[in-house]
Protein backbone atom coordinates (compact mmCIF):
# COMPACT_ATOMS: atom_id res chain seq x y z
CA UNK A 1 0.00 0.00 0.00
CA UNK A 2 1.43 3.40 -0.94
CA UNK A 3 2.02 6.12 1.65
CA UNK A 4 -0.69 8.29 0.10
CA UNK A 5 -3.33 5.58 0.33
CA UNK A 6 -4.93 5.54 3.78
CA UNK A 7 -5.62 2.19 5.41
CA UNK A 8 -9.27 1.25 4.90
CA UNK A 9 -11.56 2.05 7.77
CA UNK A 10 -13.61 -1.03 7.02
CA UNK A 11 -12.40 -4.09 5.21
CA UNK A 12 -14.26 -7.31 4.40
CA UNK A 13 -12.19 -10.06 2.83
CA UNK A 14 -13.83 -13.18 1.44
CA UNK A 15 -16.59 -12.90 4.02
CA UNK A 16 -19.33 -15.50 4.27
CA UNK A 17 -21.93 -15.53 7.01
CA UNK A 18 -24.78 -17.82 8.07
CA UNK A 19 -27.30 -17.32 10.88
CA UNK A 20 -27.57 -19.64 13.87
CA UNK A 21 -29.77 -22.65 13.14
CA UNK A 22 -29.41 -22.45 9.37
CA UNK A 23 -27.07 -24.34 7.10
CA UNK A 24 -27.01 -21.93 4.13
CA UNK A 25 -24.87 -18.82 4.14
CA UNK A 26 -26.67 -15.50 3.64
CA UNK A 27 -23.46 -13.80 2.50
CA UNK A 28 -20.92 -15.51 0.29
CA UNK A 29 -17.41 -14.39 -0.60
CA UNK A 30 -17.90 -10.68 0.03
CA UNK A 31 -14.89 -8.44 -0.62
CA UNK A 32 -15.36 -4.81 0.24
CA UNK A 33 -13.18 -1.91 1.34
CA UNK A 34 -14.26 1.42 2.70
CA UNK A 35 -11.66 4.17 2.95
CA UNK A 36 -11.73 7.26 5.15
CA UNK A 37 -14.31 9.80 4.02
CA UNK A 38 -15.80 7.52 1.36
CA UNK A 39 -19.45 6.66 0.98
CA UNK A 40 -20.33 3.27 -0.44
CA UNK A 41 -23.95 2.53 -1.28
CA UNK A 42 -25.39 -0.98 -1.25
CA UNK A 43 -28.41 -1.81 -3.38
CA UNK A 44 -30.14 -5.05 -4.22
CA UNK A 45 -33.48 -6.82 -4.26
CA UNK A 46 -35.24 -8.05 -1.12
CA UNK A 47 -33.58 -11.03 0.60
CA UNK A 48 -30.26 -10.18 -1.04
CA UNK A 49 -28.51 -10.08 2.34
CA UNK A 50 -28.19 -6.30 2.65
CA UNK A 51 -29.23 -6.09 6.31
CA UNK A 52 -27.03 -9.06 7.13
CA UNK A 53 -24.12 -7.29 5.45
CA UNK A 54 -24.77 -4.33 7.76
CA UNK A 55 -24.68 -6.55 10.88
CA UNK A 56 -21.48 -8.24 9.73
CA UNK A 57 -19.79 -4.96 8.75
CA UNK A 58 -20.72 -3.46 12.12
CA UNK A 59 -19.30 -6.50 13.92
CA UNK A 60 -22.64 -7.34 15.58
CA UNK A 61 -22.70 -10.60 13.65
CA UNK A 62 -21.48 -12.86 15.10
CA UNK A 63 -20.59 -10.90 18.29
CA UNK A 64 -24.16 -10.14 19.40
CA UNK A 65 -26.29 -12.57 17.42
CA UNK A 66 -23.99 -15.53 16.91
CA UNK A 67 -23.77 -17.39 13.61
CA UNK A 68 -20.90 -18.53 11.40
CA UNK A 69 -18.48 -15.96 10.02
CA UNK A 70 -15.76 -16.99 7.59
CA UNK A 71 -13.24 -14.58 6.16
CA UNK A 72 -12.09 -11.38 7.84
CA UNK A 73 -13.88 -8.21 8.89
CA UNK A 74 -11.56 -5.43 10.07
CA UNK A 75 -12.20 -2.01 11.50
CA UNK A 76 -9.11 0.19 11.20
CA UNK A 77 -7.04 -2.94 10.68
CA UNK A 78 -8.39 -4.73 13.77
CA UNK A 79 -10.37 -7.95 13.41
CA UNK A 80 -13.88 -7.26 14.74
CA UNK A 81 -13.95 -10.69 16.38
CA UNK A 82 -11.30 -9.51 18.81
CA UNK A 83 -13.23 -6.39 19.87
CA UNK A 84 -15.76 -6.03 22.67
CA UNK A 85 -19.18 -4.53 21.97
CA UNK A 86 -18.14 -1.33 23.72
CA UNK A 87 -14.97 -1.01 21.59
CA UNK A 88 -16.99 -1.70 18.47
CA UNK A 89 -19.51 0.99 19.39
CA UNK A 90 -16.78 3.61 19.31
CA UNK A 91 -15.32 2.39 16.03
CA UNK A 92 -18.46 1.71 14.05
CA UNK A 93 -21.98 3.04 14.44
CA UNK A 94 -25.00 1.29 13.00
CA UNK A 95 -28.46 2.59 12.26
CA UNK A 96 -31.35 0.26 11.49
CA UNK A 97 -34.57 0.78 9.54
CA UNK A 98 -37.07 1.03 12.36
CA UNK A 99 -36.64 4.23 14.37
CA UNK A 100 -38.78 2.94 17.24
CA UNK A 101 -36.32 0.20 18.12
CA UNK A 102 -33.33 2.52 17.81
CA UNK A 103 -34.33 4.58 20.79
CA UNK A 104 -33.48 3.40 24.28
CA UNK A 105 -37.03 3.74 25.61
CA UNK A 106 -35.73 5.09 28.92
CA UNK A 107 -34.89 8.69 28.03
CA UNK A 108 -37.42 11.40 28.76
CA UNK A 109 -35.91 13.96 26.38
CA UNK A 110 -34.20 13.83 23.01
CA UNK A 111 -31.19 15.43 24.69
CA UNK A 112 -30.85 12.46 27.05
CA UNK A 113 -31.44 10.04 24.18
CA UNK A 114 -28.52 11.44 22.18
CA UNK A 115 -26.44 11.53 25.37
CA UNK A 116 -27.13 7.82 25.98
CA UNK A 117 -24.02 6.53 24.17
CA UNK A 118 -21.51 9.12 25.44
CA UNK A 119 -22.81 8.59 28.98
CA UNK A 120 -22.24 4.84 28.61
CA UNK A 121 -18.61 5.63 27.89
CA UNK A 122 -18.41 7.56 31.17
CA UNK A 123 -17.29 10.76 29.42
CA UNK A 124 -17.11 13.99 31.46
CA UNK A 125 -20.40 15.90 31.50
CA UNK A 126 -18.97 18.77 29.45
CA UNK A 127 -17.84 16.38 26.72
CA UNK A 128 -21.25 14.69 26.74
CA UNK A 129 -22.94 18.08 26.28
CA UNK A 130 -20.55 19.05 23.47
CA UNK A 131 -21.23 15.81 21.62
CA UNK A 132 -24.99 16.03 22.05
CA UNK A 133 -25.09 19.57 20.64
CA UNK A 134 -22.72 18.68 17.81
CA UNK A 135 -24.74 15.63 16.79
CA UNK A 136 -28.08 17.46 17.14
CA UNK A 137 -26.85 20.28 14.91
CA UNK A 138 -25.48 17.82 12.38
CA UNK A 139 -28.81 16.07 11.87
CA UNK A 140 -30.92 19.19 12.42
CA UNK A 141 -32.77 18.18 15.58
CA UNK A 142 -31.63 20.93 17.95
CA UNK A 143 -35.23 22.18 18.22
CA UNK A 144 -36.31 18.72 19.34
CA UNK A 145 -33.84 18.42 22.23
CA UNK A 146 -36.41 19.11 25.00
CA UNK A 147 -39.04 16.85 23.42
CA UNK A 148 -40.10 13.36 24.56
CA UNK A 149 -38.54 10.80 22.15
CA UNK A 150 -41.67 8.66 22.38
CA UNK A 151 -43.75 11.45 20.88
CA UNK A 152 -41.73 12.05 17.70
CA UNK A 153 -42.80 11.27 14.16
CA UNK A 154 -41.06 8.39 12.40
CA UNK A 155 -38.81 10.75 10.47
CA UNK A 156 -37.90 12.79 13.52
CA UNK A 157 -37.19 9.62 15.51
CA UNK A 158 -34.87 8.37 12.76
CA UNK A 159 -32.96 11.65 12.79
CA UNK A 160 -32.63 11.43 16.57
CA UNK A 161 -31.45 7.82 16.27
CA UNK A 162 -28.84 8.91 13.74
CA UNK A 163 -27.74 11.72 16.03
CA UNK A 164 -27.49 9.22 18.90
CA UNK A 165 -25.13 7.04 16.87
CA UNK A 166 -23.07 10.01 15.68
CA UNK A 167 -22.61 11.20 19.26
CA UNK A 168 -20.24 8.26 19.75
CA UNK A 169 -18.14 9.73 16.90
CA UNK A 170 -17.46 6.41 15.20
CA UNK A 171 -14.95 6.30 12.37
CA UNK A 172 -17.31 4.16 10.31
CA UNK A 173 -21.06 4.37 9.93
CA UNK A 174 -23.19 1.48 8.73
CA UNK A 175 -26.69 2.53 7.75
CA UNK A 176 -29.47 0.10 6.93
CA UNK A 177 -32.00 2.08 4.89
CA UNK A 178 -31.73 5.17 7.08
CA UNK A 179 -34.23 7.17 5.04
CA UNK A 180 -36.93 4.54 4.65
CA UNK A 181 -39.19 6.39 7.12
CA UNK A 182 -38.37 9.90 5.89
CA UNK A 183 -40.21 12.21 3.55
CA UNK A 184 -38.29 13.81 0.64
CA UNK A 185 -37.22 16.77 2.75
CA UNK A 186 -36.05 14.53 5.58
CA UNK A 187 -34.24 12.32 3.08
CA UNK A 188 -32.42 15.31 1.64
CA UNK A 189 -31.56 16.54 5.14
CA UNK A 190 -30.10 13.20 6.19
CA UNK A 191 -28.28 12.81 2.87
CA UNK A 192 -26.70 16.25 3.17
CA UNK A 193 -25.79 15.63 6.81
CA UNK A 194 -24.08 12.34 5.94
CA UNK A 195 -22.22 13.83 2.98
CA UNK A 196 -21.00 16.69 5.19
CA UNK A 197 -20.00 14.22 7.89
CA UNK A 198 -17.93 12.15 5.48
CA UNK A 199 -16.29 15.23 3.96
CA UNK A 200 -15.58 17.09 7.20
CA UNK A 201 -14.67 14.30 9.61
CA UNK A 202 -13.48 11.56 7.29
CA UNK A 203 -16.16 9.17 8.51
CA UNK A 204 -16.48 6.19 6.20
CA UNK A 205 -20.10 5.33 5.42
CA UNK A 206 -21.60 2.05 4.22
CA UNK A 207 -25.21 2.68 3.35
CA UNK A 208 -27.90 0.25 2.26
CA UNK A 209 -30.47 2.31 0.42
CA UNK A 210 -33.32 1.69 -2.02
CA UNK A 211 -33.47 5.36 -2.97
CA UNK A 212 -30.94 5.33 -5.79
CA UNK A 213 -31.48 9.06 -6.42
CA UNK A 214 -29.94 9.67 -3.01
CA UNK A 215 -27.03 7.35 -3.73
CA UNK A 216 -26.44 9.00 -7.10
CA UNK A 217 -26.11 12.30 -5.27
CA UNK A 218 -23.88 11.26 -2.38
CA UNK A 219 -22.20 7.86 -2.89
CA UNK A 220 -18.69 7.47 -4.24
CA UNK A 221 -19.16 3.82 -5.05
CA UNK A 222 -22.10 1.45 -5.30
CA UNK A 223 -22.25 -2.28 -4.67
CA UNK A 224 -25.09 -4.39 -6.06
CA UNK A 225 -25.82 -7.35 -3.83
CA UNK A 226 -27.81 -10.28 -5.21
CA UNK A 227 -28.36 -13.59 -3.40
CA UNK A 228 -25.66 -12.77 -0.88
CA UNK A 229 -22.98 -12.11 -3.49
CA UNK A 230 -21.63 -8.93 -5.02
CA UNK A 231 -23.06 -8.88 -8.55
CA UNK A 232 -21.59 -5.54 -9.52
CA UNK A 233 -19.51 -2.79 -7.95
CA UNK A 234 -17.71 0.36 -9.00
CA UNK A 235 -18.05 4.12 -9.15
CA UNK A 236 -21.61 5.22 -8.33
CA UNK A 237 -22.24 7.00 -11.64
CA UNK A 238 -21.10 3.96 -13.57
CA UNK A 239 -22.99 1.29 -11.62
CA UNK A 240 -26.22 3.26 -11.35
CA UNK A 241 -26.25 3.91 -15.08
CA UNK A 242 -25.79 0.24 -15.92
CA UNK A 243 -28.73 -0.85 -18.09
CA UNK A 244 -28.64 -4.27 -16.42
CA UNK A 245 -29.68 -2.75 -13.06
CA UNK A 246 -33.47 -3.32 -13.40
CA UNK A 247 -32.86 -6.97 -14.22
CA UNK A 248 -30.98 -7.26 -10.92
CA UNK A 249 -34.02 -5.95 -9.04
CA UNK A 250 -32.76 -2.39 -8.57
CA UNK A 251 -34.57 0.69 -9.79
CA UNK A 252 -32.12 3.13 -11.42
CA UNK A 253 -32.12 6.81 -10.40
CA UNK A 254 -34.89 8.95 -11.89
CA UNK A 255 -32.64 10.79 -14.35
CA UNK A 256 -31.36 7.49 -15.76
CA UNK A 257 -34.93 6.21 -16.09
CA UNK A 258 -35.96 9.45 -17.75
CA UNK A 259 -33.14 9.24 -20.26
CA UNK A 260 -34.04 5.63 -20.97
CA UNK A 261 -37.68 6.61 -21.50
CA UNK A 262 -36.66 9.47 -23.80
CA UNK A 263 -34.38 7.19 -25.75
CA UNK A 264 -37.16 4.64 -26.06
CA UNK A 265 -39.43 7.38 -27.41
CA UNK A 266 -36.77 8.38 -29.93
CA UNK A 267 -35.91 11.68 -28.27
CA UNK A 268 -32.26 12.54 -27.89
CA UNK A 269 -31.09 14.06 -24.64
CA UNK A 270 -28.54 16.84 -24.66
CA UNK A 271 -26.69 16.95 -21.36
CA UNK A 272 -25.87 20.61 -21.89
CA UNK A 273 -29.54 21.49 -21.40
CA UNK A 274 -29.32 20.76 -17.72
CA UNK A 275 -31.74 18.45 -15.94
CA UNK A 276 -34.99 20.48 -15.80
CA UNK A 277 -34.43 22.50 -18.95
CA UNK A 278 -33.46 19.36 -20.77
CA UNK A 279 -36.77 17.71 -20.04
CA UNK A 280 -38.76 20.77 -21.10
CA UNK A 281 -36.75 21.20 -24.32
CA UNK A 282 -37.05 17.53 -25.18
CA UNK A 283 -40.79 17.45 -24.56
CA UNK A 284 -41.23 20.73 -26.47
CA UNK A 285 -39.24 19.39 -29.42
CA UNK A 286 -41.40 16.27 -29.54
CA UNK A 287 -44.63 18.26 -29.44
Amino acid sequence: MSASTPAPRLSLRDVSYGYVGTSANVLQGIDLELAEGRIVGVVGPNEAGKSTLCLVAAGLAPLAIGGRLDGTVEQDGVDTRTLSAADLGQRVGILFQNPVTQLSGTSVTVYEEIAFGPRNLGLPLGEVATRVEWAADLVGVRDLLPRDPARLSGGQAQLVALGSVLALRPGTLVLDEPTSQLDPLGTRLVGDALADLAAETGTAILMVEHKTDLLARMADEVVVLVDGKIAKSGPAAEVLADPALPALGVEPPSDIRLRAALAEAGISFDASWGPALGVQAAVGARE
Binding site: G89, V100, G105, A115, R119, N120
Partner: protein, 213 residues
Amino acid sequence: MVTATAASAGIGRRMVPFALATIPLVASIILINTFLFPGATDTIVSIGPLAPTWTGLTAAAQATLRVLAFALSVAVFSLTTPTDDLLTDLERRGVGRRAVFVIGAAIGMVPRLVERAGEIVDSQRARGLDTEGARWRRVRGVVPLAAPMISSALTEVEERTLALEARAFSAPPRRTTMRPLPDDSQQRALRWGLLVFVVVAVAASVSGALGIP
Protein backbone atom coordinates in the same frame (compact mmCIF):
# COMPACT_ATOMS: atom_id res chain seq x y z
CA MET B 1 -48.48 6.87 57.47
CA VAL B 2 -49.22 6.49 53.74
CA THR B 3 -52.21 8.84 53.90
CA ALA B 4 -50.22 11.34 55.98
CA THR B 5 -47.46 11.32 53.35
CA ALA B 6 -50.03 11.77 50.60
CA ALA B 7 -51.69 14.65 52.43
CA SER B 8 -48.36 16.41 53.00
CA ALA B 9 -47.53 15.98 49.30
CA GLY B 10 -50.95 17.39 48.33
CA ILE B 11 -51.92 14.35 46.26
CA GLY B 12 -54.85 13.11 48.32
CA ARG B 13 -57.46 13.47 45.57
CA ARG B 14 -55.24 11.88 42.92
CA MET B 15 -54.95 8.76 45.07
CA VAL B 16 -58.68 8.05 44.90
CA PRO B 17 -58.49 6.10 41.58
CA PHE B 18 -55.78 3.87 43.07
CA ALA B 19 -58.02 3.13 46.07
CA LEU B 20 -61.02 2.49 43.80
CA ALA B 21 -58.97 0.08 41.71
CA THR B 22 -58.70 -2.23 44.72
CA ILE B 23 -62.49 -2.61 45.06
CA PRO B 24 -62.82 -5.92 43.16
CA LEU B 25 -59.98 -7.48 45.16
CA VAL B 26 -61.18 -6.05 48.46
CA ALA B 27 -64.74 -7.22 47.80
CA SER B 28 -63.59 -10.76 47.14
CA ILE B 29 -61.37 -10.71 50.25
CA ILE B 30 -64.27 -9.59 52.44
CA LEU B 31 -66.75 -12.09 51.01
CA ILE B 32 -64.44 -15.10 51.09
CA ASN B 33 -63.02 -14.41 54.56
CA THR B 34 -66.29 -13.40 56.18
CA PHE B 35 -68.33 -16.32 54.86
CA LEU B 36 -65.79 -19.05 54.27
CA PHE B 37 -63.09 -18.59 56.95
CA PRO B 38 -61.91 -22.12 57.79
CA GLY B 39 -62.63 -23.30 61.33
CA ALA B 40 -64.38 -20.12 62.50
CA THR B 41 -67.47 -20.73 64.64
CA ASP B 42 -68.26 -17.28 66.09
CA THR B 43 -71.19 -16.65 63.77
CA ILE B 44 -72.45 -13.06 63.51
CA VAL B 45 -75.83 -13.99 62.10
CA SER B 46 -77.20 -17.02 60.23
CA ILE B 47 -78.90 -16.30 56.90
CA GLY B 48 -80.00 -19.62 55.52
CA PRO B 49 -76.85 -21.53 54.47
CA LEU B 50 -74.71 -18.38 54.96
CA ALA B 51 -72.93 -17.91 58.28
CA PRO B 52 -70.56 -14.90 58.41
CA THR B 53 -68.12 -15.02 61.31
CA TRP B 54 -66.40 -12.40 63.46
CA THR B 55 -63.06 -14.15 62.98
CA GLY B 56 -63.49 -14.04 59.20
CA LEU B 57 -64.55 -10.41 59.28
CA THR B 58 -61.50 -9.49 61.38
CA ALA B 59 -59.18 -11.35 59.00
CA ALA B 60 -60.87 -9.64 56.06
CA ALA B 61 -60.38 -6.21 57.64
CA GLN B 62 -56.68 -6.92 58.23
CA ALA B 63 -56.17 -8.18 54.68
CA THR B 64 -58.07 -5.19 53.29
CA LEU B 65 -55.86 -2.77 55.21
CA ARG B 66 -52.77 -4.51 53.84
CA VAL B 67 -54.06 -4.33 50.27
CA LEU B 68 -54.97 -0.65 50.68
CA ALA B 69 -51.63 0.15 52.29
CA PHE B 70 -49.82 -1.52 49.40
CA ALA B 71 -51.95 0.13 46.70
CA LEU B 72 -51.69 3.57 48.26
CA SER B 73 -47.94 3.17 48.78
CA VAL B 74 -47.60 2.46 45.07
CA ALA B 75 -49.82 5.48 44.40
CA VAL B 76 -47.71 7.79 46.57
CA PHE B 77 -44.55 6.51 44.94
CA SER B 78 -45.79 6.87 41.35
CA LEU B 79 -47.43 10.25 41.94
CA THR B 80 -44.46 11.83 43.69
CA THR B 81 -41.47 10.27 41.89
CA PRO B 82 -40.78 11.13 38.25
CA THR B 83 -39.33 8.12 36.44
CA ASP B 84 -36.20 9.94 35.36
CA ASP B 85 -35.55 11.05 38.95
CA LEU B 86 -35.85 7.45 40.09
CA LEU B 87 -33.48 6.16 37.41
CA THR B 88 -31.00 8.97 37.96
CA ASP B 89 -30.88 8.31 41.69
CA LEU B 90 -30.55 4.56 41.26
CA GLU B 91 -27.59 5.15 38.97
CA ARG B 92 -26.05 7.58 41.40
CA ARG B 93 -26.30 4.97 44.14
CA GLY B 94 -24.35 2.51 42.04
CA VAL B 95 -27.15 0.23 40.88
CA GLY B 96 -25.97 -1.58 37.73
CA ARG B 97 -26.89 0.01 34.41
CA ARG B 98 -28.64 -3.14 33.26
CA ALA B 99 -30.89 -3.18 36.32
CA VAL B 100 -31.63 0.54 35.92
CA PHE B 101 -32.37 0.04 32.24
CA VAL B 102 -34.73 -2.86 32.93
CA ILE B 103 -36.67 -0.75 35.45
CA GLY B 104 -36.84 2.23 33.08
CA ALA B 105 -37.76 0.11 30.08
CA ALA B 106 -40.48 -1.71 32.01
CA ILE B 107 -42.05 1.59 33.09
CA GLY B 108 -41.71 3.08 29.61
CA MET B 109 -43.07 -0.02 27.94
CA VAL B 110 -46.56 0.25 29.42
CA PRO B 111 -47.84 3.18 27.32
CA ARG B 112 -46.18 1.72 24.21
CA LEU B 113 -47.86 -1.65 24.73
CA VAL B 114 -51.23 0.05 25.26
CA GLU B 115 -50.70 2.02 22.05
CA ARG B 116 -49.63 -1.11 20.16
CA ALA B 117 -52.64 -3.05 21.47
CA GLY B 118 -54.92 -0.28 20.17
CA GLU B 119 -53.30 -0.45 16.73
CA ILE B 120 -53.62 -4.23 16.58
CA VAL B 121 -57.26 -4.14 17.70
CA ASP B 122 -58.04 -1.51 15.04
CA SER B 123 -56.27 -3.64 12.45
CA GLN B 124 -58.17 -6.78 13.52
CA ARG B 125 -61.46 -4.90 13.45
CA ALA B 126 -60.70 -3.67 9.94
CA ARG B 127 -60.45 -7.32 8.95
CA GLY B 128 -63.82 -8.15 10.45
CA LEU B 129 -62.96 -9.41 13.94
CA ASP B 130 -65.73 -8.58 16.41
CA THR B 131 -64.03 -7.13 19.50
CA GLU B 132 -67.10 -5.51 21.00
CA GLY B 133 -70.47 -6.66 22.22
CA ALA B 134 -70.92 -9.82 24.28
CA ARG B 135 -68.27 -10.69 26.82
CA TRP B 136 -67.38 -14.02 25.22
CA ARG B 137 -66.76 -12.23 21.92
CA ARG B 138 -64.37 -9.82 23.61
CA VAL B 139 -62.57 -12.72 25.28
CA ARG B 140 -62.31 -14.43 21.90
CA GLY B 141 -60.76 -11.23 20.53
CA VAL B 142 -57.86 -11.50 23.00
CA VAL B 143 -56.31 -14.44 21.14
CA PRO B 144 -55.62 -12.64 17.83
CA LEU B 145 -54.43 -9.65 19.88
CA ALA B 146 -51.94 -11.59 21.99
CA ALA B 147 -50.02 -13.30 19.19
CA PRO B 148 -48.98 -10.15 17.28
CA MET B 149 -48.36 -8.32 20.56
CA ILE B 150 -45.94 -10.98 21.75
CA SER B 151 -44.21 -11.51 18.41
CA SER B 152 -43.75 -7.79 17.76
CA ALA B 153 -42.50 -7.24 21.31
CA LEU B 154 -39.92 -10.02 20.89
CA THR B 155 -38.78 -8.61 17.54
CA GLU B 156 -38.45 -5.19 19.10
CA VAL B 157 -36.38 -6.57 21.95
CA GLU B 158 -33.93 -8.17 19.53
CA GLU B 159 -33.52 -5.03 17.43
CA ARG B 160 -33.28 -2.80 20.49
CA THR B 161 -30.64 -5.05 22.02
CA LEU B 162 -28.50 -4.68 18.89
CA ALA B 163 -29.05 -0.92 18.81
CA LEU B 164 -28.08 -0.60 22.48
CA GLU B 165 -24.97 -2.73 22.05
CA ALA B 166 -23.95 -0.48 19.16
CA ARG B 167 -24.29 2.49 21.53
CA ALA B 168 -21.75 1.15 24.01
CA PHE B 169 -24.32 -0.14 26.47
CA SER B 170 -21.84 -2.77 27.65
CA ALA B 171 -18.99 -0.31 28.10
CA PRO B 172 -17.26 -0.89 31.42
CA PRO B 173 -17.04 2.66 32.87
CA ARG B 174 -19.66 3.97 35.24
CA ARG B 175 -22.25 6.02 33.34
CA THR B 176 -21.99 9.77 33.42
CA THR B 177 -24.58 11.31 35.72
CA MET B 178 -26.43 14.03 33.87
CA ARG B 179 -28.36 15.66 36.65
CA PRO B 180 -27.46 15.26 40.32
CA LEU B 181 -30.65 15.27 42.37
CA PRO B 182 -30.91 17.55 45.40
CA ASP B 183 -30.75 15.58 48.62
CA ASP B 184 -30.83 17.76 51.72
CA SER B 185 -30.46 16.79 55.37
CA GLN B 186 -34.25 16.75 55.96
CA GLN B 187 -34.78 14.17 53.23
CA ARG B 188 -31.95 12.02 54.51
CA ALA B 189 -33.34 12.24 58.06
CA LEU B 190 -36.81 11.27 56.83
CA ARG B 191 -35.45 8.29 54.90
CA TRP B 192 -33.48 7.00 57.87
CA GLY B 193 -36.47 7.62 60.12
CA LEU B 194 -38.74 5.60 57.85
CA LEU B 195 -36.20 2.80 57.70
CA VAL B 196 -35.98 2.66 61.49
CA PHE B 197 -39.79 2.72 61.70
CA VAL B 198 -40.07 -0.22 59.30
CA VAL B 199 -37.49 -2.24 61.24
CA VAL B 200 -39.26 -1.53 64.54
CA ALA B 201 -42.69 -2.30 63.06
CA VAL B 202 -41.52 -5.59 61.58
CA ALA B 203 -39.80 -6.57 64.83
CA ALA B 204 -42.91 -5.69 66.84
CA SER B 205 -45.12 -7.65 64.47
CA VAL B 206 -42.88 -10.70 64.48
CA SER B 207 -42.59 -10.64 68.29
CA GLY B 208 -46.37 -10.44 68.64
CA ALA B 209 -46.25 -7.06 70.41
CA LEU B 210 -48.77 -5.59 67.95
CA GLY B 211 -51.26 -8.39 68.50
CA ILE B 212 -51.60 -9.00 64.77
CA PRO B 213 -51.55 -12.66 63.74
